[in-house]
Structure formats: C-alpha cells, structure tokens
Symmetry: D2
Subunit: 333 residues, 4 copies
C-alpha cells in the first residue's frame, strides 16, 4: 500500500515514520508548502519524495492512501479531492471545520467505497483501551460522570480556540467510552490574548443522567492531564502524566436507601475499599492506529474511528462554539 | 462579651471552643434541639449552659452575640430574631437561602446598628490571606481566570445540592480575591442519587474578561482542593491538601505582539522562570475570625466578611440554581 | 484495672487518655516532676490525681499497672521499682538504655509473673498489621530487603542521638515483619550540632541474605516516612504520610535462569504487573495497643511486644551506637 | 576533529550522534564486535564507517579522538592503546576497573600531552550545574550531608555489582559538589540473585563532619532519583524525575545556642521559610559534555572531568567493594 502525506509540520513526521515502517506499506510522497521541510524529511527518509504542491499527492496514480496532516480549515478541501481521486484518507483531528463538511466527506467516501480514518490517536493508547474495556465490562457499573482536565501553558493557535485545539482529545475519548448520543452542549470561556478563547469549560449532557465536562486552558502554569470517571459501582482516575500507574480504580461508592422507620428520610452509605492500578499496555498508539487503518482497508471494514466518529466530535465542537458565544446557552444536538 | 450558640452538630463545637477561649468572651448558653448534644457539650465545657429551645438563646438578656450554626434554611429566621432582640449575629455559611432573606437581615442589622459576620472561615487561613496579599500587590498582574476544583466522596446533604454545600467556600474566596462585581453565572450539573445535584460546574463572568470556574462533586473517589489563578504576569496554584507548600507561584506567562514584518501575524512568546512557595502563616482560621468579630463589635466597625459579603455569595448561589435548572442558561446578576 | 502514669510531657497525655477511656480501666494517678503539668491534666481529666513524686505512683496499693512515659535513661529504675512493687509495666520505647537493663527487667517480671509491654505503637497501626499479614501469608515470597527512610527537621534530643530517637520505630517494625534473629549491625553517621549524631545510617544483616537499612536524619528539609520491602514475588512501598493509600503492592519481580545454550550466561527476566493498594484499617493504634495490654494482663498472656521484643530493639540500638563510634565496624549480635 | 567510537550498544549511539553533529567534528569509524550493530548504525548514519575490529579505530591515522563506550573491564586496555597511538580519549564511566589502571592511564596521557575525559554526563545537566553553583556561592552555607537515593527495577549487570553500575553517577556528582578529599568509605549490601550485590549502601566520610550516603538498589518496585543536601543555612532536594522543578531549595535550618541562664542547657531553634525552585537550564547534557571536550582539546586545557576526576570515583568504588566484602569495615582512603 502506497501512502502520500500532506503536511510535514509538528505531527507530520510521526505519521510518515509510522506509515513508512509498517510491513506492506510505504510512504512515497510528502507535500508541504514550506520548502524547508524537504531537508528535514530527506535527513531521516532519503528515499521518500517531496513536493511543495499537494496536488502531486492528490492526483498521483501511485498513491492509495492520503494522510491529511494540515490545519483544520484545509481538511475538507484536501480530503474531498483525495476521495474524488479514489484515495482512502487518514485525517488529522478535528475531522473538519463544520458538521456540513464532515457529512459531505462521509457521504462521498461511502459512495466511492473508500475508507476515512480520523486520527483520534488517544483511542489507541493502552490507557484508553483499558478504560474502554473496564467500562464495557461494567466494572464501574452505570456511569455517573466523565470529568476531564487538560491544561498547560500554550501552545496558542491563531486560527482556532482552545476548545478546537485541546478538547478533541477528550471529546473523542468520551464518545468512545460513554458510547451514547449526547443531548446538549453548554460551553463557557474567555479570550484574553489573541481574540480566541484560551480558557474554556464544556459540559455535555447525555441520556440517563450521564454528564461530561471538559476543562481546557492554554494559560495554566502547570500541565495537567487528569480525567475522573464516576460510576455506580467503582470510580476511576486516569492521570496521563504518570509514567507507571496511569489508571487507578477505586472500589468506592455511595448508596442510598429509604429509612424503613421513616420513609421521608434517606440513608446514605459510603463504601471504601481497595485501590487498584492495572498494568497498562505500553504501545505506540500511532503505530497501532496506522496499522489498524491499513488492516481496515485491506479487509474492507470500517474503522471505529471513521468519519462518523470524527463527525460526532465536530458536532460537539461546533455546538460548543455556538454556546460559548452566547455565554453558555445550551445547544441541543 | 457573652455569646450564645445555636446548633451543636458537626461545626458547632468548633464555634463554641473558639468563642469560649478568646480573651474577654464567654459562651454562656448553647441550644440544640437534639438533647443528646448536652452530654457532648458538658464533657468538654461543663460550665456552659445547654437548652433544647433556641428561643432561650435568642431572648436571653445576658447574651450579646448569637452564633447561628444550623442548616441554611433556618438562618434567616434565627438571625432575624437575634437581631430583633438586639444581638449581633455570627452566621454559618451560606448566609441565607435567598437573596431576599439576606437583604432583609442586612437592612435590619443596619437599622439597629448591629453587626453581622458570615462564617467564611477560609478567608482567615494563611493561604487565602497570602493569595489576597499577592493579588492586591499586583504580583500576578491583571487577573485572567480563577479555577477551583473541590471534589471528594460525600458528604451528601439532603436539603441542598453540592453547589450550596461546597461552592460557598470557593465563591467567598473568589469574591474576596477578585474583588469585582460579577456579571453573569452559568451552571451545569446532574443529579444521580437523592434528587439534588451531586456534580456541578459553575462559571462566573466578571468585567475585564476575568472568568471564574468552580467544579464541585460529591462523587469523586479522590479528594482534591486545588485552585489555579492565572494572571498576566504570574500564575498561582493553591493546593490546600499540601501540608507545607500550599501555594506555588510560577513566574510564567505568555505575551503576544504583532510581527513588524507582517501585521497579520501574531507572535507568541512564552516566559518560564522560577517557582516559589512562600511560607504561609500557620493559624487556626476560626480563631482569627472569631477574634476579629469580637474586635469589630468592640470598635463598632463592619467586618469585611459582613452581611453584604454573605449576600454576594448567596446571589451567585441563587443564580447558579436558576441556571442549572435550565441547563446552563446564563443568569445576569 | 487501675493505672498510674509517670511522665506527662509530649506523649503522656495520649497514654492517659487511652488508658482512661477503655472499658474497665481507669487512670487514678499521674506523676510528673514538673508541677505545671497538673493544670494541663486537670483541664482535661479533673478526676485524675496528680503528684510530682513518682514514688506515689510506684508504691500506691491502689495501682495495678504503671505506665512509664519518661526519658529512656529513667526507664530501668522506674520499671524496676514498679515490678518490685508488684505492678505490671507499660514502658515507652526504647525499652531501656542498655541490653543489661532490659534483661534484668525481663527476668524480674518473669519471676514475679508480671507483664511488660513496650510501647511500639506502630505495630498496632492498620498499615503495619497489613504488612505483617501480607508477609506472613508469603504474598511477597522470600524477603530480600527492608529499607526505611525516616527523616525530618528536628526534633533534637539532648540525651540521645537520632538513632535512639527515630530508629526504634523502624527497628521494631523490622523485627516484627522479618521475624528472624539479626546477625550483625553496621552504623555510620555524623554529629553536626550538639554532640550527638543527627544523621545516621544503619544496616542490619539477617540470615538468608535478608538485609535491612534504616536512614534517620534530624536535618532534612522535607519529612519522609517511606519503607520499601522487596521480596522474591512482590514488592511493597509503605508511605506513612499518604492519607489514603499508605501501602502499595507491586506485582513486579526479577528472575534469573541459566541460558540452556550457554551455561555461563545468566538470563534475566523482569516481570511487571498490576499495582494494588489495599484498604488499610483506620484505627487509633495506641487505643488498640493499650486495650490489648489490658487483655493480656486479664488473660495472663504475654503480649507480642513484650520485654523480649523491647530487648531485641535495644540490642540493635546498642550495637549501632558501638558501630557508629568505630565508623561502621560490624557489631555481631 | 575526527572521532572513532568503540562500542555501539546502549549508550554508544548517543555518543556517536553527539560527536557527529557538533560543528567541526565528525565520527568517521565505529567499532563493535557484534556485527549486527552495523545495520543500526548505517540506518541513522550511512556515511560513518563500521568495523568489528576495535584495532581499526585504535590505529587509524585519520582519528584524533577515541571514545571508549564498552564494559568497564575493557576500558584500561582500550584507552591505553588509544593513548599510545597518540589519540585523546573519552571514556565511559566508571573510568577503570581499579585505581592502578586509572593511575597508569593518567600518567600516560600526561606524558604524551593527551586529554582524557571521563563521561560523567550528569555533571553537565542543568540540575547539577545549578546545585554546584548554589553550593559554590555558599547559598547552603557549610555542608552537613549529601544523601542520594537511586533505586529501580534492574538493569542487572553480570560483571559488576549495583555499586559499580549505579553509584558512579552519585559519586561523581558528590565529588564535584563537595569538592573535598574523602577520608573513608563504608559499604554494606547483599547479593540475592546472580552473585553480585543488587542492594547496597555506601557512606563516605569527608573532613569537617561532612558525610555522604548513597543508596543503590536494582530490586526496587519504584524508580527513585532523589538527593538531599543539607547545609548550615539552607537545604536542597533534587528530584531528577520531576519534569519541571527538579531542584527545591528550602530556607530551613536549625541553630543551637547555650542557655545563658543554664550553661548546661542547649537551646535549639528551628527556622522555616520559603521554598524556591529555580529554573533549571534545559540542555542535552551529553551535547554540552562532548562539545566541552572538543574545546578542551582545541585549547589544550584539562577538562574538570578528566582522568583525575575519574580516578577519584574509582578510588571510592574500589574501597566500597573492599568494605562490602567485610560487612562494612571502614576503608581509609
């Protein structure tokens, strides 16, 4: 399978390295409008071709898969051309800049029987796979809430706000773990420096009283990557900055019952047991993801992080942008 | 100065001990409807009187100050009677159950030249005093955001939700530190167990792009008490669970400028310097607070945590309750 | 059972409170040469008698048990008199100032059929009980090492060095957990301020290649209370300053085998599995200990932390003092 | 300057990369007896020559500097030949397997006016440079102790014990920071698995009551890299596993005085002030080190981490091995 990659900035080299070193795949051409990228590419991969014209990738008859690793506002146009030229596409997150764009790409891929994968890399980490597994096995029982904190100093983007920059990680994981259709989004936040929000708080309402919250911030002096997931039976803390024990599961809970002697009185009881940090598989997530995409194409199967998954995230991002402009008005999905 | 205390549950004994052991003050009567409290009181303070009828405290001619340490829905009635009987009042937080109640008490105290203090104990801790001092000296520069996380397992209240239980701490500190008039409140949250919200997120909009956020949760497996305060010049992390270094100040920041060569391009520069954990005064906050109240009465001065301060917190709580019911509609203050 | 307590300094009040509030016991007399102690005692326990003459306690016909809570160099004389007067004794750690003193007391108690308990409080904490239980059940497999770090700023003692002040905790726990007869002691350290060692390192050699190490320091800017226990099958970290997860058990290990292809080559394999923090019982250790002593007396049984246990710790302390003076010469036990 | 590198195992590639990418230097030949290394080398550096015969490097007339990155027992022979052939040598730590070997190499280099650098990489980290700077500026005052903890699971060496594997880091830093001549070494430890010590404790006595201690362990379930340095005026904690605040300086101390009223009584006073984490320079230590070696050769200056520095570490290692065999007998240096 021959891959072409468009965009060789911060993330592009990782995409190239992974697609290039899988068995049975090969990156044959990389495009970036910045000609300086050529030297960086050649130093590591002298055999891969380079061009400053992305159309060379999009139209090459030798390319089966195009990876789009460019700013979000270019995704739709590039992915569309790639699909029109009969190529499978791997698109950086967030998938597109609007719901309409995402829907158009999905429809087009469908019609041409091509695959789309959206690069929600975190879904392929050992930590998220373990969390998904625990939730699916109902170790936590019914879910109560999903609360993510993703803050650090920078990196400021000029074209998108902190929600579009940082929240796609959490929203894609939340979508994967909760696996239900969100009902409404509320977002608040503020702009301090360059005309886009640099601090933001997003609430997502799900059915059955499940609530999710994402706190993203480009102006935090400390880096935090912590998610709390509360369930009826157990609770989980995922600290992605821990080297060894990223996930901790607490055998803790609260239960309520009615006092038999006084039906107006609720009795609350707390349960507090062991904590357990399961071994988490150490894999390079991007390697697992690219390898999975190749397999999906070969076997003509839809990846679980397909265009529809990318669309679900974009739908929340779009709603969050709408909500934040009206200071938190709930946007129904 | 002779003190009467109404309510001898969880917090009452601390109020009694502090008021009783100050110089020149004495607790002479404690009221609680639960007769079992008498034994607990007598064991520690055999000389203090006990009654199950709060009116004995409210009407006693020997009492100068009444401390109201009861559930919030009783504050207004008890404080009102105390003021009507010519007594200064010390009221547990939150001050009242509604803005209207708070306003009535303030007006009444004013008319009778009596003092009200609302027990926002945290304002008297070494940590909050240090933060207030740093912000007032403009060490952080203009403030950007105030982001508080206060989560733990329980303690469930039956009559109020997690906002009224946990957020008054953060809202009173935020009010003290930011010292500006909030514009609007957005709250989201969910009820899982006993019909009141047990998970909630509150955003408070202030003038000049200052934004505050409070995350409160009764269903967290871990206890967290962390507040981030971001400013133009420096940033601060307050972790109240640290024994020794509760406050850390980061000499970090971001600045933006326009590229002289390309006026459409913003240049972002990050600054990262030392971290500094100032020694924080080790005091019993409640001792400092009660002692300050006595001094205010003696010198006929208004405490800074007076009825008006209590009202400011209640106004946000009331707005938060309104907003949460409509899934995040902004309530203008 | 009627208790007399000698010494009402830092630890004495805890001993009095616990012995006084157990069922079926009562502290009837407290002695301290400092007359100011009387007021402190009476404030909390008005019914307990006070004297500045310890002989009043030692000779009172109404006293069954004497608790000796005084500096170590007085333990032998006071405990001896108490035993001679037919009283059971509860002695602060370390048991005595020398092996000879300890042996004399043990022999005397034995002859008069009286009980001695040495106050190794830590043995009654939930954490140490859990560790003992895990080791006894061979969860860790054969032990490899026991490595304790107990450092903080102060508290300086004038009469004993940091080994006699801090290490008895670790040595008594080590003795309890390893449950084997140590072979030799090596100690190093240095005096910086007041003529006694304030920094010291103790190695204790046990049979079967088990090695223990204790690092004690009065001059550390940070307080650390961490013990590592390595075993053939699992390894354990006990951090006593953690509030909730004091003990963590790591399913990690190393195994060696000979390469079948090359008998001179060792193959090393590492195993790394889950981490597990068992719920640790929340008890007041001193309450459990005093209650257990009363039970031992009633049932005429020897406590496990008896004079012999105290002697085993004193033997190591004495050897450590000897070794440290010769800069680490091993002292065989 | 043309460099030859002998040894392309774990560390060799880092040496090659750094020497190869400096200005004015070039690695021209790499030797390793394992022929599989060639492919690894060529993949990254296709232009560098490879040989399985180290003599090709040692005798090449085109090579000015030989880097010896092989097991310690080969250092002396390889470095000696390199010096005899007129080459400067960069030697992996520990410098040699014995004091005699180190002395011979130093004498030889001296006679031929060649430079030796021992790869004590840590001395070039931002953290150690900051510590050295603080100590030299007497920010800590007179030093009291240096206490290093370096434990983890593995990596087991077959030919040397844990002291020779892990302690050279700490001993070289200690030598650099304390900058005094040690008087005696005491070492204890135990062998559990493959016939060499896997747990060891080393005490080094210095003049003026300065004491150093190094705790190294291959059998720890957790990785720790923490050093405490106590001084008369301030104290320092260096945690090398922290990403951002590796060094914390505590304005804490103890002072003693004689009670004027009672000359037999010492008064102890504790001082506790701010904590401060200075910004630590983010550099690749090995880059700074290799670049410094090139500069030393060009300017004909001795590096501070020269053969003599390497010898000082080997002298302690040799003494530690002697002491550990006699269970802690002090070895005078």
């Amino acid at each position: 399978m021959r891959i072409g990659v468009i965009g060789y900035g911060y993330w592009g080299p990782n995409i190239v390295r992974n697609f290039h070193t899988l068995d049975n795949t090969e990156v044959i051409l990389v495009a970036d409008r910045n000609p300086n990228c050529e030297m960086r590419l050649k130093k590591t991969f002298p055999s891969i071709g380079f061009t400053t014209n992305e159309n060379d990738v999009l139209t090459s008859p030798n390319i089966d898969v195009v990876a789009v690793v460019t700013p979000v506002w270019t995704h739709h146009e590039l992915a569309k051309k790639a699909l029109e030229n009969g190529k499978h596409v791997f698109v950086e997150k967030p998938f597109t800049y609007s719901v309409a764009q995402a829907e158009e790409l999905i429809e087009l891929a469908d019609r041409k029987n091509l695959k789309i994968m959206v690069d929600h890399t975190f879904l392929f980490t050992g930590a998220v796979r373990k969390i998904k597994d625990l939730v699916d096995k109902r170790e936590l029982g019914d879910l109560y809430y999903y609360d993510a904190l993703r803050v650090n100093l920078g990196l400021f983007q000029h074209d998108v706000n902190v929600i579009w920059d940082l929240a796609p990680h959490d929203l894609s994981i939340m979508d994967y773990v909760i696996a239900d259709k969100p009902e409404a989004v509320v977002a608040t936040g503020e702009k301090h420096l360059n005309g886009v929000e640099d601090v933001a708080f997003i609430t997502v309402y799900f059915p059955k009283r499940v609530i999710a919250h994402v706190n993203v911030n480009w102006l935090s002096p400390v880096k935090v990557r912590t998610t709390l997931i509360g369930g009826e039976k157990k609770m989980l803390v995922w600290n992605d900055l821990e080297v060894d024990e990223k996930i901790r599961i607490y055998d803790k809970g609260v239960s309520m019952s009615t006092n038999p002697a006084n039906l107006h009185q609720l009795l609350v009881s707390y349960r507090s047991g062991d904590m357990w940090a399961p071994q988490v598989e150490q894999v390079e997530a991007l390697r697992a993801e690219t390898s999975y995409f190749v397999k999906c194409i070969e076997e003509n199967k839809n990846p679980f992080n397909d265009g529809a998954a990318g669309l679900r995230v974009v739908r929340i991002l779009e709603a969050a942008n709408r909500s934040i402009r009206s200071r938190g008005e709930a946007v129904t999905l």
